[in-house]
C-alpha cells in the first residue's frame, strides 16, 4: 500500500498469488504496509485470510514473495519473536486456563519476565478476574480477548489479527480499539482483517480492499470511504400509489433514477442514501402516498466491493 512512502515497509507483499487446485484465492497481489493500523477488508472469500496466513508464515505463496521486517517469514522461526499472529480460528486448548494459555505463549517466546508479561497482557484485555478459569468455559468474546492477550504477551513489533472482533460485544470492541490504538502509537504495525467496514472504519489509518483475490483499492481510509460513497445504492419501495411516489422522488437531487417493476414496486437508485432516507417520508407526505415497505437491495459490503472492483477493471481497460 501507499507506494509513495520512502521509509522501509514493515510488511512487503510482492506479486503474491495462491491457488488451491483450480481455484485462485489470491491473484498477483502487491502492497507494502508501514507502522500504524492497516485494515485488510473484503467480503467473505475475497482472499483476506489466505493472504494474512501467508504474511504470518502459515502458508507458502504459489508465486511471489512476502517479507516481514525485511526477512522472509516462512521457514524462519526466529522472525516469530517479532511477530504476533491471531488466526481466524477461535480454537484454544480448552483444558488450559486462560492464564496458562498466555503463559504457554510467553514461555515459548522466551519472554524474560514471564509472570510480569502475562499479568500485563491479561490486564490489557481486562480478564484478570477470569484468568484462572478453564478456556473451555469461556464465552466466545472472552476467548477472543484471551487469545489476543496470548498474541500480545511478547510485545511483537508486528501484529496480524484475523477477524479479531468476531464474538465480541460493543464494550469489548471499544476496549479492543483502545488497546490497538495504544499499541499503534508505540510505532508498531497492526494488520486487522475484517469483512465489516464499520468494524474498522474508526480504527484503521489505511485500508486495503480485497475482492476476488485482488486488491480493489488501497490507501488512506478517507479516500476509500469517498470511493465507497460514490457507489449508487438501490432501494426498493412498495407504496399504494407507486407511480405518484416515483414522480415525486424524481424531483429530488439525491435520486438518480426510478423504475417501476412488474409488481408495481419502485426501484430507486441514489448516490446519497442518507439524503434519500431523509427525503422519502417528506415526499410521501407531500404526495399523499402511503409507503408500505422500504428495502435496500444492495446495501451490503459485497456490493460495494463489487462496485470498486468494476471501477478498477474499467480504469485498467
Amino acid at each position: 500500500m501507499t507506494g509513495s512512502r520512502t521509509s522501509t515497509p514493515t510488511i512487503s507483499v510482492d506479486g503474491v498469488s495462491r491457488w488451491f487446485g483450480n481455484i485462485v484465492a489470491v491473484n498477483d497481489v502487491s502492497f507494502n504496509i508501514f507502522p500504524g493500523i492497516t485494515a485488510l477488508l473484503g467480503p467473505n472469500g475475497a482472499g483476506k485470510t489466505t493472504l494474512l496466513r501467508m504474511v504470518g508464515g502459515l502458508g507458502d505463496p504459489s508465486d511471489g514473495g512476502v517479507r516481514v521486517l525485511g526477512d522472509p517469514v516462512r521457514r524462519n522461526p526466529a522472525i516469530f519473536s517479532r511477530i504476533g499472529v491471531m488466526t481466524e480460528h477461535e480454537s484454544v486448548y480448552e483444558f488450559l486456563t486462560g492464564r496458562e494459555l498466555v503463559e504457554l505463549n510467553a514461555r515459548l517466546h522466551r519472554v524474560p519476565d514471564v509472570m510480569a508479561a502475562v499479568d500485563e497482557a491479561i490486564e490489557l484485555v481486562d480478564l484478570a478476574a477470569d484468568q484462572h478459569r478453564r478456556l473451555g468455559g469461556y464465552s466466545r468474546g472472552m476467548r477472543q480477548r484471551m487469545r489476543l492477550a496470548a498474541t500480545l504477551v511478547h510485545s511483537p513489533e508486528v501484529l496480524l489479527l484475523d477477524e479479531p472482533l468476531s464474538g465480541t460485544d460493543p464494550p469489548q470492541r471499544l476496549r479492543f480499539m483502545e488497546v490497538m490504538r495504544r499499541i499503534a502509537r508505540q510505532g508498531r504495525t497492526i494488520v486487522i482483517s475484517s469483512h465489516i467496514l464499520e468494524e474498522v472504519e474508526t480504527l484503521a489509518d489505511r485500508i486495503i480492499l480485497l475482492t476476488a483475490g485482488k486488491v480493489a483499492a488501497a490507501g488512506e481510509y478517507r479516500a476509500i470511504r469517498q470511493k465507497l460513497n460514490e457507489q449508487p445504492y438501490l432501494v426498493r419501495v412498495e407504496a399504494d400509489q407507486p407511480r405518484v411516489l416515483g414522480a415525486g422522488l424524481m424531483a429530488i437531487d439525491a435520486v438518480e433514477s426510478v423504475e417501476v417493476d412488474e409488481d408495481d414496486r419502485l426501484h430507486v437508485r441514489s448516490r446519497e442514501v442518507t439524503e434519500l432516507q431523509r427525503a422519502l417520508p417528506h415526499v410521501a407526505r407531500d404526495t399523499g402516498v402511503r409507503i408500505l415497505r422500504v428495502e435496500p437491495l444492495d446495501d451490503s459490503l459485497e456490493s460495494l466491493f463489487e462496485y470498486l472492483a468494476q471501477q478498477q477493471w474499467r480504469g485498467r481497460g
Partner: protein, 238 residues
C-alpha cells in the same frame, strides 16, 4: 521443551481416550493373574513369551501407540491449535521431540510397566525376564511413536493407515516375507527381548539380533522424526 512436553502430555492424558488405553495396557496383567491362579500345562516362560509376542508386542503396544501418537499432532490439526506451536521462535525439532516423548510417556510407559509386572507375576519374580520385556517394549514404543506421529501429521486417514500397518505389514508380511522383517517394529521388539535375555522367545522365530533390533529401531526413529520435522516446516498450517 519441558513446556511443550507438559502441554502434549496433558493433551494426550485428558479425556476418555486415556482410560481406554489404560484398560488395553492392563490386559496382560489380567492374563498374568489368571496364569498364577489357574493350573496349566504351559511353563512360566512359555506363557510369558506367548503373552509378550502374540498379545503385547503384536497388538497392545502398536494399538496404544497408534491411538496416542497419531493424536499428538492430529488433535492440533483437527482443532486448529497448531499455530500456537509453530508461530514461535523455536526450531521445528523442538516441537516434534516433546510430541514423541509425550506419547512415549502416556502410552509406551504404561504398556512397558504392564509387561514388566505381568512377566514378574508369571515368572514368580524373575527380575531379569521382566526387565527384558520392559526394555524391549520401550524400544518398540519409541519406534512406533516416531512412525505414528509422522502419520498423524502427514497421512489423511492416519488411524486406518496405522491399523493396516499393524495388521497387514507387521502381522502378515513381516512374518512371511524375509526382507520385510528388517522393517518391522515388532521384530525389533522381539529381538531386544531375546538379545537381553536369551532364555526368552527360544521357541519363536526371532530373525534379528540385539544390535539389529536396536539399530533398526534407531533408524526408524531417525527417519520418521526427520520426516515429521520437515513436514512441519513445509506444510500449510491449518
Amino acid at each position: 521443551m519441558m513446556v511443550l512436553l507438559a502441554l502434549s502430555a496433558r493433551q494426550l492424558a485428558g479425556g476418555k481416550r486415556i482410560w481406554l488405553m489404560l484398560v488395553l495396557a492392563a490386559i496382560p496383567l489380567v492374563f498374568a493373574v489368571i496364569f498364577a491362579l489357574v493350573e496349566t500345562d504351559a511353563t512360566a516362560l512359555e506363557f510369558s513369551d506367548g503373552l509378550t509376542n502374540y498379545l503385547i508386542a503384536s497388538t497392545i503396544l502398536p494399538l496404544v501407540m497408534l491411538v496416542l501418537a497419531t493424536a499428538s499432532f492430529g488433535n492440533e490439526l483437527d482443532d486448529h491449535t497448531l499455530p500456537y506451536l509453530v508461530l514461535k521462535p523455536i526450531s521445528r525439532w523442538t516441537i516434534v521431540a516433546p510430541k514423541l516423548l509425550a506419547s512415549l510417556l502416556v502410552g509406551g510407559l504404561p504398556v512397558a510397566v504392564s509387561g514388566w509386572l505381568s512377566t514378574l507375576i508369571i515368572t514368580e519374580g524373575d527380575a531379569g525376564h521382566a526387565a527384558a520385556t520392559a526394555a524391549a517394549l520401550l524400544v518398540g514404543a519409541v519406534a512406533y511413536a516416531a512412525l505414528f506421529t509422522w502419520a498423524g501429521l502427514t497421512v489423511r486417514y492416519a488411524l486406518p493407515f496405522g491399523v493396516a500397518y499393524i495388521f497387514v505389514w507387521e502381522a502378515v508380511l513381516s512374518t512371511f516375507l524375509d526382507g520385510t522383517r528388517f522393517l518391522s517394529v515388532r521384530q525389533y521388539t522381539l529381538a531386544v527381548v531375546h538379545g537381553i535375555d536369551d532364555s526368552r522367545l527360544r521357541d519363536m522365530v526371532v530373525e534379528l539380533g540385539l544390535a539389529e533390533g536396536l539399530i533398526g529401531a534407531a533408524v526408524m526413529v531417525a527417519v520418521f522424526t526427520t520426516l515429521t520435522t520437515r513436514r512441519l516446516a513445509r506444510m500449510d498450517i491449518p
